[in-house]
Symmetry: C3
Subunit: 437 residues, 3 copies
Amino acid sequence: MTIRNQEQALGSPGTAMLDLVSRLYPICRSITGDGVRETLEILSEWIPLEVHEVPTGTEVFDWSVPREWNIREAWIEDPHGERVVDFADHNLHVVGYSVPVREKMPLEKLRPHLHSLPDKPGVIPYRTSYYKETWGFCLPHETLQSLEDGTYEVCIDSTLEAGSLTYGECLLPGESPEEVLISCHVCHPSLANDNLSGMAVAAFLARRLQAGPHRLSYRFLFIPGTIGSITWLALNEARASDIVHGLVLTCLGDPGPMTYKRSRRGDALVDRAASHVLADSGAEDRVIDFFPYGYDERQYCSPGFNLPVGCLMRSQHGTFPEYHTSADNVDFLDRDALEDSLRNTWRILQVLERNAVYLNRNPKCEPALGKRGLYGETGGMRRGEFDELALLWVLNQSDGEHDLLSIAERAGVKFETIAAAAGALAEAGLLGPAGNR
Amino acid sequence: MTIRNQEQALGSPGTAMLDLVSRLYPICRSITGDGVRETLEILSEWIPLEVHEVPTGTEVFDWSVPREWNIREAWIEDPHGERVVDFADHNLHVVGYSVPVREKMPLEKLRPHLHSLPDKPGVIPYRTSYYKETWGFCLPHETLQSLEDGTYEVCIDSTLEAGSLTYGECLLPGESPEEVLISCHVCHPSLANDNLSGMAVAAFLARRLQAGPHRLSYRFLFIPGTIGSITWLALNEARASDIVHGLVLTCLGDPGPMTYKRSRRGDALVDRAASHVLADSGAEDRVIDFFPYGYDERQYCSPGFNLPVGCLMRSQHGTFPEYHTSADNVDFLDRDALEDSLRNTWRILQVLERNAVYLNRNPKCEPALGKRGLYGETGGMRRGEFDELALLWVLNQSDGEHDLLSIAERAGVKFETIAAAAGALAEAGLLGPAGNR
Amino acid sequence: MTIRNQEQALGSPGTAMLDLVSRLYPICRSITGDGVRETLEILSEWIPLEVHEVPTGTEVFDWSVPREWNIREAWIEDPHGERVVDFADHNLHVVGYSVPVREKMPLEKLRPHLHSLPDKPGVIPYRTSYYKETWGFCLPHETLQSLEDGTYEVCIDSTLEAGSLTYGECLLPGESPEEVLISCHVCHPSLANDNLSGMAVAAFLARRLQAGPHRLSYRFLFIPGTIGSITWLALNEARASDIVHGLVLTCLGDPGPMTYKRSRRGDALVDRAASHVLADSGAEDRVIDFFPYGYDERQYCSPGFNLPVGCLMRSQHGTFPEYHTSADNVDFLDRDALEDSLRNTWRILQVLERNAVYLNRNPKCEPALGKRGLYGETGGMRRGEFDELALLWVLNQSDGEHDLLSIAERAGVKFETIAAAAGALAEAGLLGPAGNR
């Protein structure tokens, strides 16, 4: 296993992320099993991943790690012996965690095991049954309707036995032990936006962070949804307090505008940073309040942890018609959207990295900027000389109470501009540190 | 005196309330006197009322209980000896608290004692003069204009002498000594919406509360406006601190939508509960801020008490043309409106009864709802499965800081739904008490 | 020097202010020099001014007082010996603080010293160069374009040498040592709105304050912009803490509606008072947030002082086309606008003077207003009896927490009405003092 060269990752990340998604797409993932292992192995070509195996039966808070599920083949043969549904064609055809079955039965007995979407007759739905032992097939409604009466043979060659839950972790230590958590779920089979897109953006973020120094530490988790985050939190409870910011990444490849779902706290720095970056990108009205449904932010934001973890998406789960169907495939993804998602996520992380509270060392009246080469030299200037106004905002607000992001918000300018102004003032000795936030 | 059977009260409360109003309508009430006593006696057929008599001259804060006023007959005879105005026809014809008079006088001398509404020429206005000794008659403007010159004979056979101020009180003790105050004024003569409607709704609320157990204690006051609430507060100053919620009920029978006027505090639980219930009933924009005018909330919300008492109405006093005229009669009332008022008031009381702060006993990550029969069993579900989302909201927010009403508000669902979800979770041992609010 | 008679000042202040502006207009002012002295001498005819001289080189925080600049003549002669630009025609023709020059040079060498506005070809721009030694002329763009090639003679007979910075101060002591700061800049040459208008309004405010008693003390500063306020703050640092409210006055004569720029605090009493007065005058949407650019509020609101000083204007600097050009002349000013500015500023000061927190001495229930002659005597009144409602608002809110301005805001009525009601209640012994705010 070699780490692919960095130029490729940074050069055209949209294409590279789309290639990664295409390669991961055919693999049959679930909350446990070999599909997750294969996925993490491919991700390891890009970033250094530590792969954890947590044995079946391990108690994790109110839950226990389930048995491991693996599947080799599954099909339905019609009365003429023709395979009308075949797992080999599409892994969504089998209800996740189906118990093994090999049996002949009339259509009416088979029927309750068949799932389709009458309102979307051409696509295969996605169904799982993790905690109730059953089996089933998913198929296009038009296929279901074409089935004639008679005796069908069904085969699901799966195993559900003691094994482990597998997840990947990548810690990139920074100057500070304070951590940013980036979490994405790796339990969905052939579904591209949900959530191969999140995995691809997370992997490319990690590569970019590795390319240079960073103040904060970053912990990337590639975990099965719900049970994976519960497992990680249960096994790493003491570490959770190091997490000062976090993002769940999902549905980042569709052509819709960005959406940010706030953490339960609502006003954490990550919430403010994401709102600022998205407002700037013209998607302001897609910042939504926390609600206790969705992805692993449900666990990170449970009241016993209440971590400042939001969820970054483009289209929200359940709001695009391709969601949880075979239509959520590689063709549904947009290269530019993936690249835009990466860029916005990066900008959010940069706010977290660079935000700080400064103290104006010359707080009584404005300092003479001219003699330090920081001010235009001809009087009678108008408002609108942008950089000078940024300098004045930073000086005026740096009383130890306002961080750079709040100054940017009050001034109505980009964080980057305010941060650059603060840098120049600090260099000139006019600003001193008052602690990071 | 017998308590009427309960079925009648609960069976068709709109009709029953309208019957009660019709029976009380002809009685000549004022802030003191036999009309109030007769009114309380009729109310006693429905609910257990303790009738208090406070002697004339009793000092009550900055005021003293006035002399008692009673009236037997009153009329004006025109120059031909015809009775052009007669108290026997309508008790609004006499200015309340008129001193006795029996005199012949020319029209020009009588004129200053005659009150009419030029812009509503067909109705009799309502006038009183409690604190300045005078006498007067009220009549339709068209009658006034038809009076010819000449000598008129006027008679008011009233008495204004030492007696007492009468009010009714009904305390329904609950598990808790904390009290809900329900107050309505009983001092208006033949005026139906203002305030026989409030008296009827209060009486039927009390009956309904008697029909089952309740956590809170309820104190119903049937009192003359202003001087009555001042008297009660002065004589019961120590008890006022037990009042944790309160409603003044008035103008609850007209066909307009509900209005809630907040307490002086503005954010008391009764304010939030009423806003929630009214928003739900489609009258959201009729929640108005407190102002120091209106009914007895003026006294309950005076700064020395500042009780959390709001005022529940349909049309606000002064905003409907029938207000304080003979047009505010039984025909003006709407049976369905009375019933809707009772239903909404009841729902507000239910929020007060059931609101509580819980503690999630399993605060770290979500509990496994499935193994407790509280969750759907097939994965891949979408947002919209309402009851599960309510369970998740209650679990997520029950950190000891949020009461059920605030959870309902944040979740955007009915209080009843959130309270039901909390009940199920408490039964499953997942929620514990953190105190009531 | 005599103080002009007061009647003139109070009788027709618009005309009188316009006369004062006209007299001051031709004087060539700068941040130092004889023009400022002459200006202060004329103002001394109206109000008692203490004139201060601060020597060149005095250290004032991060700055030092610059050399004094004076100018006698300046002109450009074209190749034919004709004066194409002459300081004697308009003092904007010379860049402020130009060093002396007397030289012949070809047009191409002169060109970089010539400033014009291509988009406003008929007007002379205003330029200064206080902190970089250079010289220059300002002229209409159409004049610049008409210049033919050849040798030009230029003359600037100025001096830039050790001297002093001059400013005027007028302290009007009140009952309280708490001060209201009224500050305006006196450094602009022939520019009428910016800022002869501010000087005129300040002078007439001072006259009006002298005409009667006032609770607060008032400090008027007539100072050069930026370096003047920095100098005053540096030399009077200990006095700054006495400043409890303040206004920078500028651009108060143009025909646009009033604008108020909040202090850095945003919710200081002066901010609330100005918002209330302007809302009342129909200019509510012109209350804008603080930003660290503009006039001397930049210094007063620097974080080391953070004084509650806002800025009152009509049109904002930079938003009217005449700004900083020869078009900002006496004709641009509007007599009624000047008078309206004076009236609104006066009303703001009256809120500061009269605002107070009272205690209701009869806080339990309403007092009996009738027996004190403060209430209408016939019952059945409707909301709308304005004065009684004002009395009830003051009584209800006077719990020691709410000042009169907040009561006016909550009641939605003019401050003057609430203050009058409070006065009547205090006279009746129903209100007592709880301290001023």
